[in-house]
């Protein structure tokens, strides 16, 4: 899941409450793993196509994270293909491809691909802030167990907020050290690791300085943690969100039914 890859546009999915989208992602993953036959996968495919169409996000953004996990998918496919015992289809030297192995390999590849696309849709249609707000709200029952839910959510939003700042800082320090004759792409592995010191030390110093400044600024404005803290934009459900939940309940129900009842294939 890549956070902060939000795609700006206006769609039902963008306007939807982040809690529905978070629950929806989890429900979709559950439905994917409930699927045990062609009908189950057909259901997951139809749901995915409808959601993609609703999101108004170009397909190429959905496929973005795919390249990085291509290796993982290939590995899963290869292992499932050759390691599953069952009715032999083809045998080459010591390698056997079985009917069960083939089915398992294809279904694993489909599951992983759908899983990535599904969670991509969530991060593409939800701003990081809305996402952390949603998580905080969904996890708030854990407060009974004294889990620091608000604090964790606040840390997440701050971390996300600081990514671009630290990127800029890295670029600046790199240039400053290059102006002093440093080079970051010369020599062997040890040389390169050593050349990171003039970059990393100032970067850490500045990250700590910023963290200290931010803490001070937050306290100066009366921040005292999560208790009794109100929100500027409180989350509240609209009609579309209730409809969303209903669709999710139907999705799960359909997935369970399709797994239990006997259908051809």
């Amino acid at each position: 899941m890549t956070l902060g890859q939000y795609y700006q546009t206006d769609s039902v999915l963008h306007r939807m409450d982040p809690r529905v989208k978070l629950t929806g992602t989890i429900a979709y993953i559950a439905a994917l793993f409930l699927a045990g036959n062609v009908w189950g996968y057909l259901l997951a495919t139809i749901f995915l196509i409808v959601v993609i169409a609703l999101s108004k996000v170009p397909i190429r953004f959905m496929l973005k994270g795919m390249r990085s996990i291509a290796f993982l998918i290939t590995l899963t496919v290869v292992f499932n293909l050759f390691m599953t015992p069952g009715d032999e289809l083809i045998a080459v030297w010591k390698l056997h491809i079985t009917r069960e192995g083939l089915i398992l390999a294809v279904s694993m590849a489909v599951r992983l691909t759908y899983l990535i696309i599904g969670s991509n849709i969530m991060t593409l249609t939800t701003t990081p802030n809305a996402l952390t707000d949603g998580m905080e709200s969904l996890l708030s029952p854990l407060k009974v167990l004294h889990a620091p839910v608000h604090e964790v959510a606040m840390m997440m939003s701050i971390a996300l907020r600081f990514i671009p700042i630290l990127m800029e800082e890295t670029d600046k320090i790199m240039k400053a050290q290059m102006a002093r004759g440093a080079s970051f792409d010369e020599g062997g592995l040890i040389m390169r690791a050593k050349s990171m010191v003039p970059l990393l030390v100032p970067l850490f110093v500045s990250a700590f300085r910023r963290a200290g400044d931010l803490a001070l600024a937050m306290e100066a404005r009366g921040y005292r943690g999560g208790d009794a803290r109100t929100k500027m934009k409180p989350l509240h459900y609209e009609m579309r969100d209730y409809i969303g939940y209903c669709v999710l309940v139907l999705l799960i129900a359909a997935a369970i039914v399709l797994r239990i009842i006997k259908l051809p294939f």
């Binding site: 320090i173 240039k175 050290q177 290059m178 102006a179 002093r180 004759g181 440093a182 030390v201």
Partner: protein, 283 residues
């Protein structure tokens, strides 16, 4: 002519939809031994321009020449050029990383692979030139005050013995005392060490008394390049670019428009005081 810009254009992210022109049609000659001030409003392209001077940024079109050699040339030794054209970034104290002041200043000369005694001589010379007291040379740079840290960082660039020293807002965030110390160090480097200085600033007030030439940038191109006295004749235009003339220059211009027989081209407070006394003495 130590540095030359020929029809330099620079575009940020040329392939993306958010591309923006940072520099357009820059033609500029930097002559040896001159104290330049580079002035411009925030976002006028000052920082982008100076990063072209030692090859940290390559122009989108056009050429930057160091002593007649293009920085784009494959044979151009950028490491050597970066030691000849020293660049001090904004808030340079943020780049300090070594355990002692001495080692941090030695980082540049070490990268040039100089012999040990030469490094030692350069470090000491640079620290003395910038007025860093010998008692703190073995201290951690992180223990120093803001002004001291900044002088250590400048010494780090000076230790490479540059012919040109470019400083991006070296007085930003310092108190008036710290500001004057830094500016006086620069003046001494210019007059005694004969180093060409390019001082980037957004404040005319700071540079008026120091610079021989002022380069005024606006929206990515060079608006004026002239002596301070000539530049300050364009008070109206400068105001439109979000810049201002020094307050004393403004005061004397107004006095003159009220019929006082004061001279033109006064840019420092002491000159202004003398001139007003002269006129009053006559009256």
């Amino acid at each position: 002519m130590i540095l030359e810009f020929k029809d330099v254009n620079y575009i940020y992210d040329p392939d993306s939809t958010i591309s923006s022109v940072a520099l357009k049609d820059i033609n500029l000659s930097i002559r040896e031994g001159v104290f330049y001030a580079l002035i411009g409003h925030t976002g006028s392209g000052k920082s982008t321009l100076i990063q072209h001077m030692n090859g940290l940024i390559q122009p989108t079109s056009g050429e930057v020449l160091y002593k007649g050699m293009s920085l784009r040339d494959k044979n151009a030794d950028l490491k050597m050029i970066r030691s000849r054209v020293g660049l001090v970034f904004q808030y340079p104290e943020h780049q300090l990383f070594e355990t002692t002041v001495y080692d941090d200043v030695a980082f540049g000369p070490k990268n040039l692979k100089l012999p040990k005694d030469e490094i030692d001589a350069r470090v000491k010379e640079a620290l003395i030139l910038t007025g860093v007291d010998e008692s703190v040379w073995q201290n951690s740079p992180f223990e120093l005050s803001g002004g001291q840290k900044r002088r250590v960082a400048i010494a780090g660039v000076l230790a490479m013995k540059p012919e040109v020293l470019i400083l991006d807002e070296p007085t930003a965030g310092l108190d008036p005392g710290g500001r004057d110390e830094i500016l006086n160090v620069l003046k001494r480097l210019h007059s005694e060490e004969k180093i060409t200085i390019i001082l980037v600033s957004h404040s005319m007030e700071d540079v008026a008394g120091y610079a021989d030439r002022i380069i005024v940038m606006n929206k990515g191109h060079i608006e004026y390049e002239d002596s301070p006295v000539q530049i300050f004749r364009h008070a109206e235009e400068l105001k439109n670019m979000g810049l201002s003339v020094p307050q004393v220059t403004d005061v004397l211009t107004r006095l003159k428009s009220k019929g006082w027989p004061v001279k033109d081209g006064i840019i420092t407070v002491s000159e202004a005081a003398d001139e007003i006394m002269r006129v009053l003495g006559k009256a």
